[in-house]
Amino acid sequence: MGQTIAQKIFESHVVDRPTPDTYVLRLDAVFCHEITTPMAINDLVARGKDRVFDSTRIKAVIDHVTPAKDSKTATQGKILREWARRHAIVDFFDIGRNGVCHALFPEKGFVRPGYTVIMGDSHTCTHGAFGAFAAGVGTTDLEVGILKGVCAFRAPSSLRIDITGTLPAGVFAKDVILSIIGRLGVNGATDKVIEFHGPVIGAMTMEERMTLCNMAVEAGATCGICPPDRTTVDYLWPFIKDDFDSPEAALEAYRRFAPDEDAVYDRIVTHDVAALAPQATFGYKPDNVKDVSELVGTPVDQVYIGSCTNGRIEDLRIAAQILKGHTIHPRVRGIVSPATPRIYDQALREGIIATFMEAGFCVTNPTCGACLGMSNGVLAEGEVCAATTNRNFNGRMGKGGMVHLMSPATAAATAIAGTIANSDLYGGR
């Protein structure tokens, strides 16, 4: 019987089957940040097991609140920092070199097709864009991952989504994934791996695939996976060039993780995007999705462009293209957080940062910040934010605040209009 991508990765990493339905997998990478890791570190210390399974396979970053905003967040950073030093974790990223984990780690080439990755963060599914099985886990799974390099999962069941058609102008990866979540519902993919296929995926950049896979968890999925192809190899080439004779050879090697033609899926969905319009959420669940045109005129207090979903260079370019020559509405606070130092640097060189500033945006350092309502743009009671992030739960960006999720293009147009607006109003492509 044919196998899905997840089944192939599971079979190649299994170290134990404690029960027939359970796979204990060997981990290729364990990612850590300062919010969920310190409790794991403290517990390991308390148990007298302050060890790591492999310091080269653990990557750590301080990203959620950086620079620290108070004594508590300073302590979280300190615990992670001292632990990284103690165990000689080379790939540890502190202030000045840090950025949002799911943007920073791919940029460093830490994820490869066929990898198994865990992190104490639900959006770890982002890394599935590289053809890896990457799952968000809690602190206990993380703790065992750090100590033993293993994690237990149920036998994978996969949902295949074939994305067909051609994306219309002004419609982006974010609109695609919002429309998919709207269709599947917030638990439509629970306990499943979503495999994304079709010509739309083939035409997407790695950045766009990351945006897509990033939000798989908002439909409940364990991971979103794009099959590795030439785009994947080209992105990774600087990191893998010593391992393969040629990109073709790398692609050939990675094909072992491509799904079989007769792979068995739990469900197959065809999602045509030819007539898709820009999407945005309303209310407090990410599956509450409408065409932006239905939400036009909704007033917002803040516009936030950033996060692991849409804080990459392409996102900033698109937003800047719309903002160019405009100033944002006087009632709107605009905040942009480039997701990594490299993206920030690139945006500076391309004049994108200047465009944002001329439009009246505040540019912050790379951090999660406002995305989870911890710093850098927390909402007050009753305030509304148009955000390029991934979660619109009640209070997500601050108690009593509400969030509309949308693409960077829509967010930029909304900043200018002061109310939710379609980007074509300002020459969005």
Partner: protein
């Protein structure tokens, strides 16, 4: 093993997310005990008072997709430090469910009709649960009567609960 017997809190809503169970602003805490006063603080439901309604409860009965959203294990911890060790729902988000078993706690899925029945029959009353973990049965008790309900958890989850959690299990196996 933890204690699974005690009073029930009914939460009649689907998709209760981990931000509602424990808001992100408390993620700066590095002790589980500090989470205690903030459990379900952002859950806006009519006639629900987080502080008063959570006190003295052991079991939550709720609808579908409980624990969706963030992977934060602070959610099960916030339950645990408040004495809640069992959540019974139509379904769970994967990470939350795993976190519960990893902590040696119970996330029990019951069929939709059964959850409907439990809400119809018991919500709003003083109800307690008696757990027969070995035989996978739980009994709902009111002063007037009792009702026993069978449940299914995976063999692996059962072993985690028996071991006291995933750290303990992994330690003796890997």
């Amino acid at each position: 093993m933890k204690d699974f017997d005690g009073s029930v809190l009914f939460l009649d809503r689907s998709d209760i997310n981990t931000d509602e169970i424990i808001p992100a602003r408390y993620l700066t805490e590095i002790s589980k005990e500090a989470l205690k006063p903030h459990l379900l603080e952002d859950l806006n439901m009519e006639e629900f008072d987080p502080q008063a309604d959570v006190a003295g409860k052991r079991v939550i009965v709720t609808r579908s997709n409980f624990g969706c959203g963030s992977s934060r294990e602070h959610a099960p911890w916030a339950l645990e430090v408040n004495g809640i060790t069992v959540v019974i729902a139509q379904s769970f988000a994967r990470i939350f469910r795993q976190n519960m078993f990893n902590c040696g706690m119970l996330a029990i899925e019951l069929p939709d009709e059964m959850i409907d029945r439990l809400f119809g029959r018991y919500a709003g009353q003083a109800v307690s649960v008696r757990m027969d973990f070995t035989n996978s049965r739980l009994t709902f008790c009111t002063p007037e009567d009792e009702e026993t309900v069978p449940f299914v958890i995976s063999d692996f989850d059962r072993r985690l609960v028996e071991a006291g959690g995933w750290v303990e299990f992994a330690d003796s196996h890997y």
